[in-house]
């Protein structure tokens, strides 16, 4: 695997009012790498993801994508966002658009692809996440697992350099978790660069190159999945793992 740095965060700090949500975050995600972010509720995992495509601004530090600092606003920012895919816990599909329209909206309106071209590629992507036969339905007609797979296809349609996943399976019924994780595992195998906030240890062990453990806005521990889950070094991580393992 090549190890060119793709996403680099240096000394990133972020406050919500008095709350210091990100404290001196330093993180490098290399091209083709899959990084799993894990940690207790409120530790800043979502905020970390959201700063990478600037859905949240930061107070200090730098974030670069492919060597370029994140643009502050305007066209440059829109271009950056089109390079960074995002998959949300609550799917966030466009309710008034069909599955296929959800997938082609970005390519036609942002990348200025022709409709036919975007639809052809959209269908390929929907087939790839095994939902091609539902292309003309509306999001509300699909199960949660299906909706999340559409959301992944929607992100892929932009040919992003990296995809951020914020707890993509937390809102799903248990029987639908695996179908989404399978799609993500395939993506990881194909070399997609991914940052994944998840507590799914099976996925982390199978697909991740690295696990990052966050607590109170800091990166407390960083290790390979096997090392992290079998030999957590910090007390916070040991405590946290014992809690998620017992329930």
């Amino acid at each position: 695997m090549t190890s060119t740095p793709l996403v680099v965060l240096e000394n990133v700090n972020k406050h919500f009012g008095d709350l210091h949500v990100l404290r001196d975050i330093n993180l490098t995600v290399n091209s083709g790498e899959v990084v799993v972010v894990i940690g207790p509720s409120g530790s800043g995992k979502s905020t970390l993801c959201r700063t990478i495509n600037r859905l949240e601004t930061i107070d200090s530090g730098t974030i670069t994508l492919d060597g370029q600092p994140l643009p502050a606003e305007g066209r440059g920012l829109a271009k950056l966002r089109s390079d960074v895919g995002m998959v949300f816990q609550s799917f966030n599909l466009f309710a008034h658009k069909t599955v296929l329209q959800n997938v082609t909206l970005g390519p036609t309106k942002v990348l200025r692809q022709g409709k036919a071209e975007a639809e052809k590629r959209g269908m390929e992507l929907l087939d790839r996440v095994q939902i091609g036969d539902q292309a003309h339905k509306y999001p509300a007609q699909l199960s949660g697992g299906q909706q999340q797979r559409v959301a992944i296809a929607r992100a892929l349609a932009m040919n992003p350099k990296v995809i951020l996943f914020d707890e993509p399976t937390s809102a799903l019924d248990p029987e639908m978790v695996q179908e989404v994780l399978d799609v993500m595992t395939d993506l990881a195998r194909e070399g997609m660069t991914m940052v994944v906030v998840t507590h799914e240890m099976g996925f982390a062990r199978r697909a991740a190159n690295r696990v990052i453990f966050m607590a109170d806005g800091q990166i407390v521990e960083e290790n390979t999945p096997d090392e992290f889950f079998t030999n957590p070094r910090s007390e916070r991580a040991q405590d946290f793992l014992s809690k998620i393992l017992t329930h």
Partner: protein
Amino acid sequence: MEAFLSNIDRVVDGFSWTVRLTLVSALLSFVLGILLTAMRASPVPLLRGLATSYVEGVRNTPLTLVLLFCGLGLNSALGLSMADSVAMDVFWWAVIGLSAYTACFVSESLRAGINTIPLGQVEAARSLGLTFTQNLRLIVIPQALRTVVGPLGSVLIALTKNTTVASVAGLGVQEASREMKLMFDQGIAPVLPTFVGFAIGFLILTLPTGYFFGWLSKRVAVVR
């Protein structure tokens, strides 16, 4: 009843003015309502403040006062004129008063519609790289409009009935209820059947409006 029916052409003429007043005011208040909503959603504090004070102020003023202000204040006292003939002059002042008032309710409905759109969809659109205006045009407004079809229907029905205030509030504008009052004053129509006749006339206008907007709002509803 016969006396009422023998004057049916006057009744129809009265209602034709009610319809004209309603349609023109509806169009103007829709445009004004969208403008007010855009101002209230804008990042510029001055625009937001202006639009919010206007909506809160006018919405909470009795319509009679708004129309009296247009008729007695702007038209008679200040001598502002909208048209050459007196009939058209009062017609346009009534349209202005009704629109100024109804736009507030249009704006309130639209704002409620925008608030129903989950923030997550807006963020998803943003994270695809859509610009602020693309986001409004492609994601927010199409969904907001669909959710407010029903409420806008109610606003239109209220407007239809509110046109009757225009003739009593200083503006002697032609419309159905004024025609009714004239028929009473001239003693050419028996009171009870005439009342019933005009009431049915309003039902003929408002009931189908209500059904149509109800049907339309179901048709275009966004399933969530």
